[in-house]
């Protein structure tokens, strides 16, 4: 068999769900799933779409593609519906892109845990480039050229670069100047850019400048997005991609549509109705997304404060709902408890403090580094009611569940040493 274990974040999620079902008391920060109630209008649209039982176009129906195109239009990326492909999540689109684009893959290190296994399953080589000091989701431009040139000198063929803007796992996003620099390098090194912007609407400060590589290197950038993160409906599986205008873009789009027709046929009809509504951004939905993002930011920043107070290093979060701490500053103290790498750190968190985190080695990071990811979106509450309260609260940090969960996170950083 080619691969034998499921995605490490999903495997951890299933393990923790099983252990909690057996009565264990675990604070599960290991899985990047926004836990918020489904916005009621989305359920109405799902119902309205129930009669869409025909296959329809592989790329998605015109209404849904028009809505996605409009979503990009409003983000300084004028888009024709013909440039859009919808799919059951952005994951299959990323797979189809890797099936369609020739050459090997350049990824930031660390990166979301699916890019690399997709490449490996397709026989591609992977060239990781460490992220810069300031933010994750992108290769350090100072190192990118060297990695690509060395790889080419060794006979490999890096031709695709994935950027995650904002980033999972670091919860940060690359500033415009860095994006420009990377676009120039992509041009020079002839790399196609896949810009994974699924967290674009989860930028904590809406005034923060965001630049898509598709604005700077439009002819070579494919953007992927979806509704899983901003609307907390990961389980509904709704994703979309925007392809460049022009001949290269049309070639890639056609190849992805071909792959789509052989792998998933189409996004389910009822889900297309949801997409047509949500990507159209009616005011009530925009307001809901803004409230959700505000909550993500408040809780992530507090979790970050606690981590820093406990002696960990960590980039301050600016987007998504993650922290990616580095416990290098307290390596010696951890070593006394047998923790010497991210696997033993993940293990000690779970077995000794009851907190599930995802070790950096699962995200392609150096195994000996003491880095890991926590998903702060898991701190809002176990029930729909608690989650709704967190969403509605003027100060969610004062809510009993949220404050207890944050205290538990804080204590876990002490209990690592007990």
């Amino acid at each position: 068999m080619t691969t034998r274990s499921i995605s490490p974040n999903m495997a951890l999620d299933q393990l923790i769900i099983e252990r909690k079902a057996r009565g264990e008391d675990i604070l599960h920060l290991g899985f990047g799933e926004s836990r918020l109630p489904v916005f009621p209008a989305l359920i109405e649209r799902l119902m309205a779409g129930a009669k869409n039982s025909a296959y329809g176009p592989v790329v998605g129906g015109l209404a849904a593609r028009r809505a996605v195109a409009g979503w990009f239009d409003r983000r300084r990326l004028p888009t024709d519906p013909g440039q859009i492909v919808l799919a059951p999540g952005s994951k299959p689109l990323l797979m189809a892109l890797q099936m369609s684009l020739p050459g090997d893959l350049v990824v930031p290190r660390p990166a979301w845990n699916t890019y690399v296994p997709q490449a490996v399953a397709l026989g591609k080589l992977v060239h990781p480039v460490p992220i810069p000091e300031a933010c994750g989701g992108v290769p350090d431009p100072a190192l990118l050229r060297g990695v690509v040139e060395d790889a080419r000198a060794a006979g490999a063929n890096p031709r695709i670069m994935i950027l995650t803007l904002p980033d999972n796992p670091t919860g940060t996003h690359a500033p415009p100047a860095l994006v420009r620099e990377l676009c120039a390098l992509a041009q020079e090194l002839d790399l196609v850019i896949i810009s994974d912007e699924i967290y674009r609407d989860v930028l904590h400060d809406p005034r923060e400048p965001f630049l898509s590589p598709a604005e700077i290197a439009p002819e070579r950038t494919v953007v992927t997005t979806g509704l899983s993160k901003n609307l907390a409906i990961g389980g509904w599986r709704i994703g979309a991609a925007r392809f460049p205008e022009g001949p290269l873009g049309e070639d890639i789009r056609a190849a992805v549509a071909a792959a789509a027709s052989e792998v998933w046929s189409n996004l389910a009809g009822p889900m297309q109705e949801v997409a047509a509504y949500a990507f159209d951004e009616p005011p009530e939905l925009t307001e809901h997304i803004a409230r959700s993002t505000r909550l993500h930011g408040i809780v992530a920043r507090r979790a970050h404060e606690l981590l820093v107070k406990a002696g960990g290093a960590c980039r301050p979060p600016t987007g998504a709902f993650y922290l990616y701490p580095d416990l290098e500053p307290i390596r010696d103290a951890l070593a006394e408890h047998g923790v010497t790498d991210s696997a033993s750190l993940e293990h000690r968190f779970l077995e000794h403090t009851g907190v599930a985190v995802l070790g950096g080695h699962h995200l392609g990071d150096l195994p000996q580094a003491l880095r890991f990811r926590i998903a702060t979106c898991q701190l809002y509450g176990p029930t729909e009611e608690a989650q709704q309260q967190a969403l509605d609260a003027a100060d969610p940090l004062q809510l009993p569940y949220v404050s207890q969960a944050l205290s538990r996170w804080e204590e876990s950083l002490v209990r690592l040493f007990c």
Copy 2:
């Protein structure tokens, strides 16, 4: 790019939809989509599942897997829910199986048009074996050993055999004796069997014996199925696979779950609720499926009669909703009109008679053969109301739309020569 054109049946469907939208009068028999209204209880279940917005297990939730296991139990295949994986259609499951199973692919010729492109995208070699005289969906056992041994002698490594029971494109199904013979050969030649049984509940005569290879070679057979065909909800994308008990089966299942976690994450939560209901086979749904299948059989048999009357050869349909005619008996007459292969035949049907058919070359058949597929499920009517009438009618052949559409099919066989 690896592939450049979408699945030929989907491409034809999109072309015909566009031409009809421009006002052309085309009888579209080119696409295998059952056109029947969605059964109301399925819509209720979709609504009930709307709150399932979390990712949940990659393989599907326990309730849905339990229902699918029960569906197999009632078909002489005792099944534990742990042997089941759900997905957005059986197409991604077939892709994940080909990603997971080592070795090259043996397929019947002709075969459904997705097996081969999936294999090619994954770098597998494909070894087609002609189907027997009596039915399609399976390699002729008299030829199978020779093809596999020749391939191995030439350095290839055929290790997977796909069977389609009942078959798309021929609308027939292999009798038990033939299935037994193929299972023995699979054992002898060490081939894993993928048994695509998505049309299993569309067997025209319910008394007709059906044998799954999983009953005869249980340790080496994976069965795929779904709700697209029996319930006419292809656009909802609900599929499932049953893996063998035992170590080989568990290895394959784990590898497919791993591929699933990297390609599609999970079947959408609301669709899992639909699956839990439908695979449980409540009496009202079984009755609905029986009525649908009766309609498929009546119309397919009538279309077959008309074809034979016009001088074509064709296996009598016994399952699904297709005919796969062979116009070899009237080759000379067709040659006078420039029709010498299945591409020119498909073209003449569309441009000269206004009937869209799918040429056999798209299904892996020999290009010079005068064979093509028609989807008789397209003959029930263009509106939900007409389709419901066809479903309810004691004699659907008497309904105005159905009888006119069948007449148009009959006339097209004459107009080929005008």
